[in-house]
Amino acid sequence: MITLSINGTPIQASEGMTVLEAARQEGIEIPTLCYLKALGPFGVCRLCIVEANGPGLIHAILPSCNLKVFEGLVITTDSAVIHEIRRTMIELLLASTPLSESLRWLAIKFGVEASRFTPDKKDPCILCGLCVRVCRDRIGASALSFAGSDSNRHVVAEEIRIDKEACIGCGTCANICPVQAIKLEDMESDRKIVLYGKVASRFELVKCDICGNPHTTQEFIDSVVSRLNEEQKKGVRNLCPECARHYYAEAMTGHFTADVRGNR
């Protein structure tokens, strides 16, 4: 166990934990945009900055999502300096992506009424990388990637690009995007993945074996099945989430819990 202090309170954390994890464990809130527990730290949104003091650190300002805890670390999450920088960054976010609903909520929470800075181009995306990482690290499709700029070789990230061939239409990116720059549009059995307002890929949805409602893409099912062993493969059913819940409940209890067959 490691002892550190956050906002004046001594805290125990296990080795290898980040300051963000330690703080959340204690119920101390630190805002984040590009961090998700399932994906780990990425360190680009910089909203999670804290002030760090301790051995070798004097008034250092560091992102807490990838700062590992160590003995004697003294963290302040809400000093005036941090607050000021964080507010400025929220204003910058608003200036780059003014149309985002969730960013406006964030702004309100941190007392930012309006950005002091004029937006120039209205960017739909904050380049947080969540979609890229979830697609690569969790879904395993690697259909999304950061694209640099053709005219400026220094630019590593200018926009998100999608590889249509690799996309399996699962829609996880759309669910994860904090600013709805990627959207999932299902119409009957037609699914569209819409990136920055343009249709990026299109799929036909397969129907649930029980209720017959279109629910997911064949490509997604194939990708899940390909990762199962022979035994597991035998248990695969083509069911929508709702029917699956009932189906497996029945398998366990012997009762099919609702009559959803064909009438949803």
Binding site: R46, I49, L67, K68, E84, F117, D120, H154, V156, A157
Partner: protein, 650 residues
């Protein structure tokens, strides 16, 4: 307009600093990561800030919000003030933005660049306020030029874009990483193995815990590409180019060493018709016939040479300048420019008794290694016990090679202590692990022979006295301490020198007394159209410097042949200018906690590896490379200088 000239760099105010120069041009002002220096007070400071903010924004990688959007907003604000539309509160905005960007950005571009704005607002706020109230003054016109560097990049003789190629590895884009390296260096597999890595001693991560393994990362991407698409990898890229026969003039290159190969590669890419004349049957220079295979496998050298040949470069083996042809012959054959990259292949003698007796078993190090490398084992003296004299990399290569060609014992005799050894410390340790015996503070006095065969080396003990010109303490003999080390073979490896015989017989090409070809800033010799670089200009040096020379000469030859110009190359001027700005500050304290340190590379076990020439270092796996790359702090720095458009105005 400023009231007086001022200078603040790396947190130090410099009273009455001397005006900086870019080449012969007087610089009006410099602004950058380290601060600002203003020499010409008529320059509009707001315009300078605007230009700098723009340059920083152009260099931003776009990944983190503070830098990506913040620098854009900052430069908008400066433009607004400069154009007379500024308001008092804009200065406060600039301040809070500069704080946020410098404190919260992900890398040094954002962290280091806006600090200068805070300094200016603190010390010269009235100048900004005056512009807010009255708009910018109208003075002479200036042009602004920005340069991008990093501590590691600055130390690298060929200035590879190190943070960029590391970044690509971090993102898993290995191919792109290699492309980035190759845009400046055609021999990544070679350099990725044997470079002495000056970059790593300038790495800022080293100030936090340990420097990045920059060289191993380079080797990783070079090997990765080799594994994925051996040999054919360049073919596609350059097929189109090869299809069109070059219409540009013919260029002759003397020597297929690192400098010659690099020069040839870049000239061929520019569509010149390039022929390399190489005296030995093997290409690669010291990379092939000097450095042993256990550090640099021959396949790697051959692979990279083959790639250069695929660009259309012709290599003619067994052709030596001097014995076989002259510079005039080349001229007559229609070569419009010549690059001499013939290295330093002659050995320096020990100047001790017995050296000139022609004993079997006495051999200079470079010849010992060359014969082994060329497979001429009959030429290599046999025996059980070898003693090597010297303390550099060549000495270590000889002493480690000894085991691999059948010697049971291998000793090294060096006149100073371990600390002063010029050889790479990793090499020194590796040799020790293999069983090499060191005799420090020991100097050779006499080679002892019997029946025209070496039997031992008489040595004398030394102690360290006052420091000499090189800063190392000068060894002095301890009187009466002579002793003999028995030996079957003695190898002298105390240095190489140029081939005087050849060099001194090149009409119009001047040579120093020490045997180095004299060149100007563009590496042109005293003979028009004849250039030289690498070891034959610097004396025995390192591979990457030879490559850097080769690259520079390729540009100089291009300029010379297209424009007939001999003005100093922009690259040379940039390099000199940056060298004056202290890109790496070893005293800097970096507010980051130490991490677990560098990702170690695995080696072949010493007891196994000494039996043959298998490669000792195993290199990184992809996962190891990515986690090592993630340690990089991306210490890019942007600097900008302003020059008056009309130099007579300076």
């Amino acid at each position: 307009m400023m009231e007086k000239a001022f200078s603040c760099w790396n947190n130090k105010e410099i009273e009455s600093a001397l005006p900086l120069k870019y080449g012969d041009l007087g610089v009006a002002a410099v602004i950058g990561w380290g601060g600002i220096q203003v020499f010409d007070t008529r320059l509009d400071i707001v315009e300078l800030c605007y230009q700098y903010a723009q340059a920083v924004q152009n260099n931003s990688c776009g990944q983190c919000i503070p830098c990506r959007t913040g620098m854009r907003v900052l430069s908008d604000l400066f433009a607004k003030i400069r154009d007379g539309r500024g308001e008092e509160r804009d200065l406060d905005y600039i301040k809070s933005l500069s704080i946020a960007i410098s404190k919260a950005s992900m890398c040094e571009i954002g962290q280091s660049s806006p600090r200068v704005f805070l300094y200016l607002l603190e010390n010269f706020r009235d100048a900004f306020e005056a512009t807010v109230k009255g708009g910018g003054g109208s003075g002479p016109e200036y042009s602004f030029h920005s340069l991008l560097t990093a501590p590691c990049m600055q130390a690298c003789p060929i200035h590879l874009d190190i943070p960029k190629y590391i970044e690509e590895i971090k993102a898993g884009r290995f191919r792109e990483s290699l492309d980035c390296i190759k845009s400046r260096l055609p021999l990544p597999g070679i350099v990725g193995r044997v470079c002495v890595r000056p970059c790593e001693s300038n790495c800022r991560r080293g100030l936090v815990d340990e420097s990045l393994q920059i060289r191993h990362l380079k080797r990783f991407v070079a090997d990765y590409a080799l594994k994925c698409t051996p040999n054919t990898r360049l073919a596609a890229d350059h097929a189109a180019q090869l299809a069109s026969p070059s219409s540009l003039p013919r260029v002759a290159i003397i020597g297929a060493g690192p400098s010659g190969l690099t020069c040839a590669s870049f000239l061929a890419k520019k569509s010149y018709e390039v022929t390399i004349f190489e005296m030995l049957p093997e290409s690669g220079g010291m990379a092939a016939v000097g450095i042993p295979d256990y550090r640099l496998p021959r396949d790697i050298v051959r692979e990279e040479v083959a790639e250069i040949e695929q660009l259309g470069v012709k290599i003619l083996h067994g052709k030596a300048l001097g014995p076989h042809f002259t510079l005039e012959d080349l001229e007559r054959a229609g070569y419009k420019a010549v690059f001499i990259g013939m290295g330093c292949h002659c050995h320096k003698s020990l100047d001790i008794e017995g050296e000139d007796r022609g004993y079997y078993g006495y051999v200079p190090g470079v010849y010992f290694l060359r014969n082994i490398n060329l497979g001429l084992m009959d030429e290599v003296p046999k025996g059980k016990k070898m003693v090597v004299v010297g303390g550099g990399n060549v000495a270590i290569d000889c002493v480690r090679t000894a085991f691999r060609v059948g010697f049971d014992e291998s000793h090294i005799v060096y006149r100073r202590s371990r600390r002063e050894m010029p050889a790479d410390s990793v090499e020194i340790d590796d040799a020790e692990a293999e069983g090499v015996k060191y005799h420090f503070l020991t100097a050779p006095k006499r080679i002892i022979g019997e029946n025209s065969k070496v039997t031992g080396l008489e040595c004398v003990r030394m102690e360290l006295g006052e420091p000499d010109a090189s800063g190392r303490r000068r060894p002095v003999e301890v009187p009466g301490s002579e002793f003999v080390i028995e030996a079957d073979v003695i190898v002298a490896a105390i240095g190489q020198e140029g081939d005087f015989n050849c060099m001194c017989n090149l009409p119009g090409v001047e040579v120093t007394k020490k045997g180095a070809i004299i060149v100007d800033e563009n590496l042109m010799t005293t003979r028009n159209g004849v250039f030289a670089g690498g070891d034959c200009v610097t004396g025995p040096d390192v591979l990457i410097k030879a490559c850097a020379h080769g690259r520079l000469v390729s540009m100089a030859i291009d300029e010379f042949l297209t424009k007939g110009k001999t003005e100093t190359l922009g690259e040379v001027l940039d390099e000199k200018f940056l060298a004056g700005l202290k890109v790496y500050d070893p005293a800097e304290s970096i507010a980051l906690p130490a991490g677990p340190g560098r990702v170690a590379v695995t080696h072949e076990h010493p007891s196994e590896r000494i039996n043959d020439f298998r490669e000792v270092d195993k290199g990184y796996t992809a996962d190891e490379a990515v986690s090592e790359a993630s340690r990089c702090l991306r210490c890019y720095r942007v600097v900008m200088y302003a020059c008056p458009d009309d130099p007579s105005n300076a």
